[in-house]
Symmetry: C2
Subunit: 399 residues, 2 copies
């Protein structure tokens, strides 16, 4: 925006920062420094000029390999950029490289470590995206969420994570997982940049919200599954935001859990080619999940799909918000767990993915051992402006 922005210098600094951390962080699936420099040189002016970007390796890129976190796609070179990548480039952003994703954006982890403590998971499946932003190597990254793949790594790594309204950002050129849940999201160290990127990625204008916002604390039926430090963070934040407690509508109890069935059932179909031609190259964990999708009866799927449809209606959403603008709710069970064998539990994200509501993980809180714990804010459909305003308000308390 300013004449002082120098994408080339910003990119050099990004590459230096990556080099310092990558041996431990393993955030990058593909990084060609010369290509990143060329991308900087060729980047046009625009609302994202000078913004360095990591692209989760589940998005197609025409100028670099796209392996979807799977050996099945070793060396794969797509013909085109994913729509989201093309929109970022055209807005001036500099694509630095491709970030590590869990296998096919499911749950078998890649090699990425948590930048705050390398023995802990960064979360997933947008693992490299969250870790690279948190390490300060890049400003923004693309992610996707089918269960909790944006909000959870954002929380574990201590960055902003936006899972917008279902369908807001185009999924064209993103490897499908479960199409009725798959949502493109953004990880970012700066809420203003995140907001500009969100507008660019959805052809929307920013409409800043200046009116006072009202908040409600929604514990959900899984509250007792949250760790003590996570509960404390939520209750502290609820106090800062003067959030009254709002009840969990009975019709939504259990929907988070039930939506797993949708993910597995649709995933089993979406990954047909991989399963029929390269089943031996899928991880055992993924094979098991897809087989559980096969074993799901069509009647069970149809019933849950209908339940989700009913839960997404205006009446259902209004009964959930109970008059407040924004819900405050756990993003995760607690701090990033130790070990790299699991990306952690997405249980506190599933409901919002199923409902298609915009959700933002706000950093600035820590758990008992000093690792980040994000706070999840949730707004009504297409109310990203309200959600970001709420995120600013919360951040102003936490910094």
């Amino acid at each position: 925006m300013s004449a002082e922005i120098d994408p080339t210098a910003i990119t050099e600094e990004s590459l230096r920062r990556i080099a310092r951390r990558e041996a431990t962080l393993h955030a990058w699936a593909f990084l060609d420094e010369d290509l990143a420099r060329r991308n900087a040189e060729e980047s046009p002016p625009g609302p994202l000029a000078g913004v360095t970007v990591g692209v989760k390796d589940i998005f197609d890129t025409a100028d670099q390999p796209t392996e979807y976190g799977s050996p099945i796609y070793a060396g794969h070179r797509p013909r085109a950029d994913a729509a989201a990548v093309a929109l970022l480039r055209a807005a001036g952003a500099v694509i630095i490289g491709k970030t590590v994703t869990a296998e096919l954006a499911w749950s078998t982890p890649g090699t990425t470590t948590n930048p705050h403590r390398s023995s802990h998971t960064p979360g997933g499946s947008s693992s490299g995206s969250a870790a690279a932003v948190a390490a300060g190597s890049i400003e923004l990254a693309l992610g996707t969420q089918t269960a909790g793949s944006v909000i959870r790594p954002a929380s574990f790594c201590g960055v902003y994570g936006l899972k917008p309204t279902f369908g807001l950002i185009p999924t064209a050129g993103v490897k499908p997982g479960a199409p009725s849940l798959d949502t493109v999201g953004i990880l970012c160290s700066d809420l203003d940049v995140l907001d500009r990127a969100r507008a660019v990625l959805s052809h929307r204008t920013l409409r800043p919200v200046h009116r006072p916002l009202t908040f409600g604390l929604l514990r959900t039926e899984m509250w007792e599954d949250a760790a003590a430090d996570c509960k404390e963070v939520l209750e502290r934040v609820a106090g800062l935001l003067e959030a009254a407690e709002v009840p969990m509508p009975g019709a939504l109890v259990g929907l988070a859990d039930a939506s797993q069935l949708i993910q597995n059932y649709e995933g089993a179909l979406s990954l047909s080619w991989e399963r029929l031609t390269h089943n031996d190259l899928l991880s055992e964990g993924l094979r098991e999940r897809l087989e559980s999708g096969d074993a799901t009866s069509q009647d069970s799927y149809d019933a849950v799909a209908r339940r989700v449809l009913a839960a997404r209606t205006d009446d259902s959403i209004e009964s959930l918000f109970g008059g407040v603008d924004v819900l405050v709710t756990p993003a995760v069970v607690g701090e990033a767990p130790e070990g790299l064998g699991s990306t952690g539990d997405p249980k506190f994200c599933r409901l919002w993915t199923a409902l298609g509501l915009p959700a933002l993980s706000v950093p600035g809180s820590v758990g008992a051992t000093g690792l980040p714990i994000g706070v999840q804010l949730v707004a009504r459909p297409y109310a990203e402006d309200v959600l970001v305003a709420a995120g600013r308000r919360l951040s102003s308390h936490l910094v």
Copy 2:
């Protein structure tokens, strides 16, 4: 299914039939006879053994080019098969080649002609799929529908066309148009084969319906836009099926028309890469539609998207069916129009695509000049078994 099935002999006959018609029909975007023969030799036993298949060139195929009906993708070779293609192959079907699609599955026609009268459109965007099945060159073809791209060409060419419940058949590996509408469908000359393919493509078991079915004639608010011969066909069929007239729910009036806005808005985002890098290679017609998507306000989109969501709920669907099992409603305005510059009007298909309801075009009727006119049957979500049973019942009257 029988030991007598000889995929190689069936494929040779298919290739002979193609050769006889292709100079006029122009149904094929890619056809390599030796590859088709190899596909026959390698086809496994299965529920679709010996079924010859044309794949709309909007589906990725690993063994042949996929150009999406656009010069932007000249010579493009995908890494993988679309999920639907992989499922058909594994069930024993023989992939013969790729059929012509309108540009990027929108409305700018390819070169295909109507097999019944070559000066008339075959409909689109699944133009080659419908024409090749109608010409008897192949038994089954894959199509997609975002407005009326399966039902309309099926009607114009006189074949069965199934647009199933939204999300039933996986879209992985299909070029996205408008993701909240895009639906994979099937064109076929035989309803039993269509039904088996539908089950294969959705991991579902066939559950034949033997109980008597009740029918309702739904004229919709656009009835007066249908040609006189089309109205006569519908009224005759309604008589044969003892279909009582059912009223159009007020809440659904105008939704067919409004859903165009969703298509254009989402399409403008989905095709970002093509527009930003190869806009000059898009047809003027498509550019205009996408620009109308750009010009749509986000508030208008959000309002229509919410209206669609409300219309898809159980209560809304029940008020539409009014107690009957299957609706009988126009598939098209009339016979295939003369000329190859347009694929015809999808207005009678849009509502069913927006509602996500399974719809079947049933051949066997003709218009004033002797060209086919399909009759559209519509069932409740996931009630494909009921829909196919209804199609059998109607066909038994028409043959």
